[in-house]
């Protein structure tokens, strides 16, 4: 480290100590003019053994604690470098010299997780919904919104917590390390627009190193530092990707795309769906946009051009819009028009079910198909379901059916312990084909596969209380053969494989 750099840093250290409180904001503004200071601090952080590291960390923490946004951002700009320093030291299993960096990072974390009154901070945001008017739209103009399960459940705006509340942390442990670091990156990402090129470059390098150290790609990148693998979490990678995305779009094309590549490489090896998802989306959305590496300092590569306002899609093509008014042939109907039609179809159903299942159909099976259709179809289909439910109850009450069902149930109960998996296969098959037929009658949409994902809670909630006993039986006799769920999607409904 050069004596000059050291001088700059020392001056900076002493200057702030003597500063009166009233002068803090002007001081914060003047920091930008000190051109040689920031690189000098970077050097101090990189050279872990420098004597200045401890006072520098201390001062950076004082800056952050001051609450002055500009001073806080001054500290935040070093975050990527500090994180790398922390992780590389802990990977090298060298317990020394990272103490002050750990303290600084934990200090920032503990400051950020509470609000002004010292209460745990909960970061939340509102999920906009097209069904509620906004400054940009009117629900009526959007047209029909698909009545999916989610859309119905979230009719209106919902407030969603995306981070917090977090626990105060005294030390870094292997368990909390990435939780803390992820949160710190979240803070950094919140101030991305204020970060300098240096900081963004350091973020990109940090991302690359964290992801490739110890993997074959390290040789390709010719990075010689530590060569042990660093553990990462998917959430941490997602936060890194968010920062890289900003860097990519704001001048750091080369380093940014390298970093994105490396993070995706690691996400593939670790099989992290979240990081892959966001990384792929960024890569694909930037694929078309030609990113220019601007040599001008701070230049943004966000450009827009005048686009033709007329539709580029020719008028005679069949689109979702043009098909909306189209009426389908009746047996394909999803949208059941009149009550008459409704009756017709339920009659057809009655005809189909026993035919497929055979004479020993028990009430529980009806429960299954009901729950599936409820998920797939809209309000009209729900009406239909209730109809089916009543049918099954009718059957239950008829003495003959009940008696037979009961005797079967005992049979199942007896068989249960001895039943091997192969014996229950035909049962499972029958259920599947039943479900298939049933849902095919309702809709030919490929969504009927979706029914297999129904969580058991929905199953129970949507069914009438009287049917609970039935569903218990199902589970009773299905449980010896859970391996077959893979071949029969309908069964996984009861087993709730998806929780």
């Amino acid at each position: 480290m050069l004596a000059m750099d050291q001088g700059v840093v020392e001056e900076w250290l002493s200057e702030f100590k003597t500063l009166p409180d009233s002068a803090v904001s002007t001081y914060a503004a003047s920091l930008k003019e000190k051109g040689s200071l920031v690189p000098a601090i970077y050097k101090v952080i990189r050279e872990n053994y420098s004597d200045l590291l401890e006072p520098v960390c201390h001062q950076l923490f004082e800056f952050y604690r001051s609450g002055e946004p500009q001073l806080q951002r001054f500290t935040l700009q070093f975050l990527p470098e500090l994180l790398w320093s922390l992780l590389s030291v802990s990977a090298a299993r060298d317990p020394h010299n990272s103490g002050c960096i750990e303290a600084l990072l934990l200090g920032i974390y503990n400051l950020e997780i509470v609000d002004k009154d010292g209460q745990s901070k909960v970061l939340s945001f509102t999920v906009p919904s097209l069904s509620k008017p906004s400054v940009y739209h009117e629900p009526s103009a959007i047209g029909s919104i698909a009545l999916t399960e989610g859309a119905l459940a979230n009719h209106g705006l919902s407030r969603v917590v995306y981070s917090g509340p977090h626990l105060q942390r005294e030390t870094f442990t292997a368990q909390n390390r990435f939780e803390v670091l992820t949160f710190l990156l979240l803070c950094y990402n919140g101030a991305l627009s204020y970060m300098t090129c240096n900081s963004l470059q350091s973020l990109c390098q940090f991302s690359s190193r964290v992801c490739i150290c110890g993997y074959p790609r390290q040789q390709m990148r010719r990075y010689k530092g530590i060569s042990t693998r660093l553990t990462v979490t998917s959430e941490f990678l997602v936060q890194l990707i968010t920062g890289i995305h900003y860097a990519l779009c704001n001048g750091e094309v080369e380093l940014g795309s390298k970093a994105l590549d490396d993070v995706l490489y690691r996400a593939q090896l670790e099989l992290f769906p979240e990081a892959l998802l966001v990384g792929n989306a960024i890569r694909s959305s930037l694929h078309g946009a030609a990113l220019k590496s601007n040599n001008k300092e701070g230049a943004r590569s966000i450009q827009v051009e005048i686009t033709p306002t007329s539709s580029r899609i020719s008028r005679n093509a069949v689109t979702s819009l043009s098909i909306r008014g189209h009426r389908w042939k009746r047996h394909d109907a999803v949208d059941l028009g009149s009550p008459d039609e409704l009756m017709d179809i339920s009659e057809v159903d009655e005809g189909v079910w026993p035919g497929v299942v055979g004479p020993d159909m028990t009430p529980p099976t009806i429960t299954i198909s009901n729950s599936i259709t409820t998920l797939n179809l809209g309000a009209k289909a729900m009406k239909k379901c209730r109809l089916g439910g009543r049918n099954s109850k009718d059957k239950e009450t008829s003495p003959l059916t009940t008696g037979r069902a009961a005797s079967e149930n005992t049979e199942h109960a007896v068989k249960r312990l001895t039943l091997t998996s192969s014996q229950s296969v035909p049962k499972a098959g029958a259920l599947t084909s039943l479900t298939r037929t049933a849902s095919a009658v309702f809709s030919r949409s490929f969504e009927h596969v979706a029914g297999s994902n129904a969580p058991p809670s929905t199953n129970h909630n949507t069914c009438e209380a009287a049917l609970y006993s039935c569903s218990l039986q199902e589970e009773g006799y299905l449980s010896p053969a859970p391996n077959h769920t893979q071949r029969s999607p309908s069964i996984s409904v009861h087993l709730g494989s998806d929780l």
């Binding site: 509102t126 442990t173 959430e235 943004r300 809670s457």
Partner: protein
Amino acid sequence: MTARKSGSRLETEIERCRSEAQWDKIPELVRQLSAKLISNDDLGELLQGECKLQTYLKENPIKQGASPRGPRPKLLEVRKHLTAALDRGNLKADYLQEASLLMGKLCYVEGEYRDALGHYSRVTMEEMQLVGAPVYRLSMIAEAYATKGLCLEKVPAASPSLSNKNTGSPSSNRSTTDREQDIITCYEKSGDIALLYLQEAEKALSAGIQNRSPKPGPTAQDQELGYFLETGLQRAHVIHFKNGNLTHGVGRFREILRAVETRTTQNLRMTIARQLAEILLRGMCEQSYWSPVEDPPTVSPLDDPTRQGHTLSKNYSLSRRPRVYSGENLFCPQENTEEALLLLLISESMANRDAVLSRIPEHNNDRIISLQSASVVYDLLTIALGRRGQYEMLSECLERAMKFAFEEFHLWYQLALSLMAAGRSARAVKVLKECIRLKPDDPTIPLLAVKLCIGPLHWLDEGECFAKMVIDMGEKAAEFRAKGYLAIGLVYSLKATDASLRSMQEDYQRKALGAFQRAQSLSPTDHLAAFYLALQLAVSRQIPEALGYVRQALQLQGDDVHSLHLLALLLSAQKHYHDGLNIIEMALSEYPENFNLLYTKVKLESMCRGPEEALLTCKHMLQIWKSFYNLTNPSDSGRGSSLLDRAIADRRQINAMTLPDFSDPETGSVHATSIAASRVEQALSEVASSLQSSAPKHGPLHPWMTLAQIWLHAAEVYISMSKPAEATACTQEASNLFPTSHNVLYMRGQIAELRGNIDEAKRWYEEALSINPTHVKTMQRLGLILHQLQRYSLSEKVLRDAVQVNSTAHDVWNSLGEVLQAQGNAAAATECFLTALELEASSPILPFTIIPRAL
């Protein structure tokens, strides 16, 4: 049409045709008009000029970016009409202004920019009335402003005489700024008036359609903006962004978007909404954001610092502005992600509506266009929602993208990943299958599928298929080859645990070992390969070998929790309980909240330090549980948002919690049946909790399972201390959470035994077995009781079944030996005792399989 119209009716008809751009009808109307009054001739000239100019422009549209091509013979005619109208000066003031504006437009088309500006300076456009003006005139004014802006951009700045302010300031820099400001103001005014015009036109049209039904109304969707209005609407923000002035660009975007949409602006809005979302996601952050109803910050990091000296401000007002969305309770975003999401949802609904469904070759291009515009929106949605961890909502959005997805790998893959991230595993696997079909060479996809099959789904056969796909790729799979072997090793290892026949178990264990060895040799620096090899060796009770590999794993990854746990268990298998406890404590210093480690600690403590210590640990666990999960504020019960919900998505915690929870504390083998039983348990307790209010709230079950597990551990410690009352209390706590858990029932049985109620114990054990028929520990206790009741053959049957399920349970072998001895079968009994003895020598304090196996 043939009947002559009275004056006012004729005028309204002309106005309507001009507003609706039905230029072909104008000549006929002009003929009727001139037949009425001579003074109408000038108006006739104006109309004919306009009509010819518009028709010309319709036939020869000006392209964006291309300059107009100079004089054309057809335009000469236009000029003649307009000159005639202007020269005679008989026109009313309004019409005179119109004529000048048209003249300006004509000059622009001919490339005479200075002349155009001259015409515009003659009309004081600022004073033209917007209130009460006929619809067509709004369009005319909007076009005039746009044209003026275009001309100002073309004419070099050095001629200040043409600037309508005519300041002639000495500082040329200053005048450039003024000029830029003028240009932008022109465009912004043009854009505002254009929006107003479109709104009014649509209103007039819908009113018209209602009033005169049978008339062949104009084809509404045919209305297009044309070059001038398009420029007016968009050029202002294009200039802002070109100048690096993001704040103003964003402001302009928002103004356009806040105006109530019309049919004609739909496509524009879709584009602008997407572009604004892009800027919000790529160029802004939480701290630099300001909401659409706030004033922008005066100094923003978003603007080009070199130009920050002279901020352009909006300094005009219009007598009438376009209608904006208004009303009570309008949602207004407060955060950049919120606004981006709202904009993207709006664009998505439009992009979705334009999805081209037909697959005939003629529509190929249309399909590509609709796919591209939609996939950009979906990618941005993914970025926005991914940042906020809202994978459930994302998977629903991406599911809507499926109408575009035929043979489109990217969309399928993204859907699969989002389903996976949202925890909808079964569906994710189905979609991944399609991805594999579309891109058979990518080893990541089958590996993702195996991960799900091994983890939440427990679909081992499918998992085996996927893992084999990766292995079959051979060298092509590169770094993923080792991962493929690891995956198949895990599948076999889990199958071995599930297998009910001993020969099958051994077969699978052998296969698993082979696969792990292969993985380890392919990727010697991967700690997971070494770790799973060690675990598999441990399961097959090759303790010294396992110790070797677990040390290797720890060298590669010193703070891996599972390796440390395995090391502790291996030490306990060698009966070095104190060393094991030390390791556990060391691991706990790094993972203080890991319940899995804590369970083992309880066991080891009651072994080495007495039950009191173990009880303290149980208490500590309860405290951790409380601080861990009680933080969640119940009022924020948005979907997928609470800490509890997130706990499910968190892989680390799933690893730490799921498997051990419902594996047995005693036998530990995670059987398919016990998984099924735990699912039944979940379902039942959900029913139960919906019936009785005292039961825990609805929500994810993992935290409650953990809590129940802690209570059961405490109960066990009390049982070992022979304190049935306390044990009952603990069991009751667990039972409140999961009344039908076989673990709870088993514990009740043990308490009953402790109290000497053999019959009651037997009943509890039988109930436990009816829920989970392969619960080995219960089978062992039941076997013992049956033995006590001298029902030897039944006891033998139960114990033999237990040994089938888990052949390494030494206490079962021991009990079996006792039963056989009691029956007089000494030879078989000896064999059983020997087996028990041998197994006991390598038996860990808790089964090795409590360590989760996941990819």
